[in-house]
């Protein structure tokens, strides 16, 4: 039984190769409650929380690379991400204390993962590596389950938005499961949008919504295209997704969500 807390990504990859069955832990906010409840009883834990080279937020061109243990609260404060641009996603994500510990990367391994829709709209990808291979692999942010047994997620890559909006529907505003959410971004490569919830299940991109997102008068077309991507099963659910989409459109073009 071992609790491993490597200090570098290279030593974490070596430990992963040696102990592929060890439970990987980022911030621990998902795995520790599961261990407390007896749902996980790992023989070994590989804790990435102490990686000295794992919490960097590096801007390059109009994109940014986040280390595997960048915390949600740190990302929301980061200037490299356009300070405050991602602040909107903080409303409703966990609690202030949990946000300080929870990593973005760890979220993508959870179901449901609130950040998957956000990172899909930001053209994000999950970067993986292993001690056995030279290069890195890139996976869609919704494909964390495709990680190989000897790999770790070693970073996230995403575009820096000029404008960003995120709207979610939940039974409570805070610390409650998301029923549906829409994220929209104006990126250097063009607008992008994604939706989650109902039949869409995990986050799906909404390519049909792109022309309407670029158009300040395109709120209705944007909402219709997002609803088509989400395929909500009931009239109530369709109205909810359409309302979230309209709020996002308004936030992108007018800076606030309320009509």
């Amino acid at each position: 039984m071992a609790y491993l807390r490597p200090a570098t990504i290279a030593s974490a990859l070596a430990a992963r190769a040696e102990l592929p069955r060890a439970l990987v832990c980022g911030g621990g906010t998902a795995v520790q409650p599961a261990m407390n409840a007896g749902l996980l009883r790992p023989a070994d834990v590989l804790d990435l929380g102490g990686l000295r080279d794992g919490a960097a937020i590096d801007a390059y061109g109009d994109r940014v690379r986040l280390g595997p243990v960048v915390r949600v609260a740190a990302a929301a404060r980061a200037h490299a991400l356009g300070a405050g641009v991602l602040g909107g996603l903080l409303r409703g994500f966990a609690t202030p204390a949990v946000r300080e510990r929870a990593t973005l990367t760890g979220n993508l391994f959870q179901a449901p993962a609130d950040l998957a829709v956000v990172l899909t709209a930001l053209d994000g990808s999950l970067i993986t590596a292993s001690a056995h291979s030279r290069g890195e692999r890139r996976l869609p942010v919704t494909m964390a389950s495709a990680l190989r047994p000897d790999e770790l997620a070693v970073g996230l890559d995403l575009a820096v938005p000029a404008a960003f909006a995120y709207e979610r529907l939940a039974v409570r505003e805070v610390a409650a499961p998301t029923l549906a959410a829409v994220a929209a971004a104006l990126l250097p490569g063009g607008p992008r949008a994604a939706v989650t919830g109902y039949r869409a299940g995990t986050a799906v991109p909404c390519p049909g919504a792109v022309p309407h997102l670029a158009d300040p008068a395109g709120a209705d077309g944007f909402a219709a295209a997002v609803v088509a991507a989400a395929a909500p099963p009931t009239p109530y659910a369709r109205r909810s997704v359409a309302a979230l989409a309209r709020r996002c459109h308004r936030r992108i073009h007018r800076g606030d969500a309320d009509a």
Partner: protein, 158 residues
């Protein structure tokens, strides 16, 4: 030490502490093993009753793996509490059964240290993740704003 246990050492309220716990144990478990139990409710990061200051940042001890806290400076309300906040909470009736109080005192003391003049929405935001079944929260908000006002007047009178 049995080989199915891991050793955790750190600083608790200014004193060294030491615990031997399984790899799956939380910091909350380690503090219990070290003879310093905290109020525990959900053990899932939801209720806030076990919140400690971990290297200066509030964290529910139940979501922190014990091994992740090795070498860290842990402070409970005993050491992290701002006396002015405790006084105002007592005056406002912001503590009844007291089960939630140590955790939320850690979080609100951190708020007052990092943003000395918070408004009511900022106090409510800091209380997110702290369940109190007795007070209805209003007295806690009132006490925190009163403590903030005292801290601000102390600073401006220097």
């Amino acid at each position: 030490m049995p080989d199915d246990l891991v050793e955790v050492r750190g600083t608790l309220d200014g004193e060294p502490y030491h615990a031997e716990v399984p790899v799956w144990a939380s910091l909350l478990d380690a503090l219990e093993a070290a003879g310093r139990p905290l109020p525990a409710g959900c053990r899932g990061g939801q209720c806030g009753s076990c919140t400690v200051s971990l290297d200066g940042v509030p964290a529910p001890a139940c979501v922190v793996p014990a091994g992740a806290a090795a070498g860290a400076v842990v402070e409970t309300a005993r050491r992290a509490a701002l006396p002015v906040l405790v006084e105002e909470m007592a005056a406002a009736g912001a503590t009844q059964c007291g089960y939630c109080s140590p955790g939320l005192v850690v979080a609100l003391s951190h708020l007052l240290r990092t943003s000395p003049a918070p408004d009511a929405p900022a106090v409510r935001e800091a209380l997110t993740g702290h369940l109190c079944r007795c007070t209805g929260y209003e007295a806690i908000v009132t006490a925190t704003l009163a403590a903030a006002a005292r801290l601000t007047s102390e600073i401006s009178s220097i």
